[in-house]
């Protein structure tokens, strides 16, 4: 039993924390959010150089990490600073799927991703699929040597910036079947694919993606026909470790901002943190933060387990992080009062990052149901 980070991860954590503290200030970040692209190429490049993306891939994939604790270490720091750049989408989901399923030619792209030169997006969710990973109605039909895609993809994060969009589509079976789903690499600007982009509540951008008779060569398929689901589930598991860690990092910031506020802000002549009701509620936040930290450790530590055990720990972590996250976000705002309601205050963004995590890859209740299902004997 050992709960210390390895030396390498500790160094990565330290350098990442230092870089973001210096360079990713509230002002900078808010300007990035307001920009047309919703992200900063400069930050992206600098973080890629720091090894943030490489840490998310295993050595055999061209990186130097890829384990659960690599993912959690990186995303905790991204969360702490409220980073809006789409590392989840380009690296964990996009790059991860290519690394898992791609042929040698396709895997070249992973190198580009690690170097910071290529953005990806994973177009999987559909307007009525909600959080159900197997509900794919977008169709892929063979047409001679090629493939024709038709369908709609919902809230595809980072779609506008992506050089390639990885589109899931059904080659056989019914909506809801795990079998029959394939992935296709669709280059940006391909005829028939239209994007309607928009900003997101907690920063960054997404798009509604419409696929209308999109013609692709057979070489656009990632892996074997109809067999993509296990890889999707595995990368979504990785993404859920990342989301849990990211939310936990953001929660650390929320609690720390609250601590500072409680100690400096005075009302009725004394720091408001000395009022017992607030002090006790602050203590509850700290207690729950330890729970959140342990939940992330469990998810990361069981990431290499067999799928069922892996997913049970991940569902557990996302449910706990969802519950504690809501508590931390709401209590932090409440204990701050009005100041936390203003866009320019750091907590406003951090609280949005925490709460809106609940809308990616399953909310608190979804993960509770997953946990119940996966726990059943």
């Amino acid at each position: 039993m050992n709960f210390d980070l390895t030396e390498e991860r500790q160094m990565l954590q330290d350098s990442l924390r230092r870089f973001l503290k210096d360079r990713y200030t509230t002002d900078t970040r808010n300007r990035i959010i307001d920009s047309d692209t919703g992200m900063s190429d400069e930050i992206w490049t600098a973080l890629a150089e720091l090894g943030v993306i490489g840490a998310l891939f295993a050595e055999e994939q061209g990186g130097f990490g890829g384990a659960g604790f690599d993912i959690s270490t990186v995303f905790e720091e991204l969360g702490r600073a409220g980073v809006v750049e789409p590392f989840l989408d380009t690296a964990i989901l996009g790059g991860g799927l290519i690394a898992a399923l791609g042929d040698d030619a396709q895997k070249q792209m992973v190198e580009e991703v690690i170097g910071g030169g290529l953005h990806l997006a994973f177009a999987h969710g559909e307007p009525t699929s909600r959080y159900d990973l197997s509900r794919v109605e977008t169709s892929a039909k063979s047409d001679g040597d090629g493939i024709v895609l038709n369908g709609r993809k919902a809230v595809v994060v980072n779609a506008e910036a992506a050089g390639r969009i990885i589109v899931s589509a059904r080659e056989s079976g019914d909506a809801g079947d795990e079998a029959g789903i394939s992935l296709f690499l669709v280059p940006a600007g391909t005829d028939g694919m239209t994007l309607r982009g928009y900003p997101l509540m907690s920063g960054g951008r997404a798009a509604e993606v419409t696929l209308d008779e999109v013609r692709l060569p057979g070489s656009a398929r990632l892996g074997a026909a109809g067999a993509a689901f296990p890889a999707i589930a595995a990368q979504v598991a990785a993404a859920n470790v990342a989301l849990a860690a990211e939310a936990m990092g953001a929660m650390e910031t929320a609690v720390e901002l609250t601590r500072e506020y409680l100690m400096t802000r005075k009302q009725f002549g004394r720091p408001i943190g000395t009022f017992q009701a607030l002090a006790h509620r602050y203590s509850d936040l700290l207690i729950e933060m330890e729970q959140a930290r342990s939940a992330v450790i469990n998810a990361a530590g069981h990431f290499a387990d067999p799928a069922r055990e892996r997913d049970r720990h991940i569902a557990s972590a996302r449910n706990l992080i969802g519950r504690v996250g809501r508590l931390v976000a709401e209590e932090s705002i409440q204990m701050h009062g009005g100041i936390a309601m203003t866009q320019e205050y750091e907590l406003a963004h951090i609280a949005k990052r925490i709460v809106m995590t609940d809308h990616r890859l399953g909310d608190t209740d979804y993960h509770l149901e997953r946990f119940i299902d996966l726990s059943a004997a």
Partner: protein, 396 residues
């Protein structure tokens, strides 16, 4: 005990319904229903419609042009307006300043300002809160120094709701810094067009501009704009806080919000079935509905006392706390119900005429969830209310 409305009350409700059905502009109601905010012109349009009917000032005496409704009638009106997705009545002139003027203002002040509130000539805002004061309202620092027949005002107010639209602001200002906090405060009416008044927007975390900072730099205010006596402002402010808290529980908003959550849950599919029949979601909805059913009765109990003249005291604080908890819980349910489509930041889309992204109900839910965190902070935070309740009820 009788939980039902009297025949007269039912007739009144029907009258309100018929009026809303006929007079509330359909496009405006649709905008509100979708989570939009009325702009200034829309707000003034709705005020004017109500004023024509004599219903703009429910709590004013008839002599000033009010409806002089009792608490039950006001409740019915508010509930029906919420259900019909009518814009809220902007309360600053009508429900906040006006009662203070009627009680403590001069005859001249009443004669001048009240009609202009009713007919929309003057849009009022409130200058109470200051940076650094928070719940400790009486620690305010904005100074008004008498010089001849003017006060010279310097200082800063904050959280001034819709101050960007306002013609006038009623302010608490410090006129005597040498006495106990509460004793040196006066109640002053200030024309926003006076030189030295500056309004700076505060953008809230959901991207909306509804509150402002108001800065005063050597602002000259005629002494006749003082309400009541100098240094008695705290009394007037407290009167306002304790006597004019209408619709504290927000039952109508909660009922309308819950109905909307249920509609969403019937439309959203989860695991191949409507979200409405998902047992975990259904349990969340049922619990808040049960809480709301009880609170609606608590509200009516207090209202029926108020209707026979018993002023609600600490009960108002209880309703404030529970009412905001329930409203915020409903906002949270709406956010959950929308699923991934809660993620788009759609405020400009709701305001404009663009097609919504995803189902039309999903656009505003996240923004509303974040925006309504204010409910438990502003207007006397829930912590302040809990303190009041304990103090009063523990007796001793």
């Amino acid at each position: 005990m009788d939980l039902s409305y009297s025949p007269e009350e039912i007739a009144f409700r029907d009258e309100v319904r018929a009026f809303l059905d006929e007079k509330l502009p359909k496009d405006l109601a649709e905008k509100i229903r979708r989570g939009g905010h009325p702009d200034k012109a829309e707000q003034e349009q709705w005020h004017a419609i109500l004023n024509v009917r004599g219903w703009l000032a429910p709590n004013w005496p008839r002599e000033f042009g009010g409806a002089e409704w009792n608490a039950v009638q006001r409740h019915i009106f508010e509930e029906e307006c919420a259900f019909a997705s009518a814009p809220r009545i902007v309360p600053f002139g009508l429900s906040m300043l006006a009662p203070v003027l009627m009680k403590f203002g001069s005859k001249e002040q009443c004669g001048h300002y009240l009609p202009r509130i009713l007919d929309g000539t003057d849009w009022w805002c409130q200058g109470y809160s200051e940076p650094g004061a928070g719940s400790d309202l009486a620690s305010l620092k904005t100074r008004a120094v008498r010089e001849g027949d003017h006060y010279i005002v310097n200082g800063q107010k904050t959280w001034t709701t819709l101050g960007q639209y306002a013609d006038w602001i009623f302010c608490l200002v410090r006129t005597d810094p040498n006495v106990k906090q509460q004793e040196g405060i006066s109640f002053l009416l200030i024309d926003m067009n006076t030189p030295g008044v500056e309004v700076r927007p505060i953008i809230l975390l959901d991207g909306t501009h509804e509150v402002n900072e108001v800065w005063f730099t050597d602002v000259k205010v005629p002494v006749e704009n003082l309400v009541g006596e100098e240094n008695k402002g705290w009394t007037y402010a407290k009167y306002l806080l304790t006597h004019e808290r209408t619709n504290i529980a927000g039952v109508g908003f909660s009922e309308a919000g819950l109905a909307s959550v249920k509609r969403m849950a019937r439309a959203e599919m989860s695991g191949g079935k409507p979200l409405a029949v998902n047992p975990h979601f259904a349990a969340r909805v049922a619990k808040v509905e049960i809480d709301l059913m009880a609170m609606a009765t608590t509200n009516l109990r207090i209202i029926s006392k108020a209707a026979v003249g018993q002023a609600p005291g600490v009960e108002a604080s209880m309703l404030k706390v529970k009412g905001t908890i329930i409203r915020q819980e409903i906002n949270d349910l709406a956010r959950r119900a929308a699923g991934p489509y809660a993620m788009p930041f759609a405020s400009e889309l709701v305001e404009g005429d663009n097609d919504p992204i995803g189902p039309d109900y999903a656009g505003p839910v996240a923004a509303k969830y974040f925006n309504n965190r204010k409910l438990s902070i502003f207007g006397g935070s829930n912590e302040i209310q809990r303190g009041i309740i304990a103090k009063v009820k523990m007796g001793g």
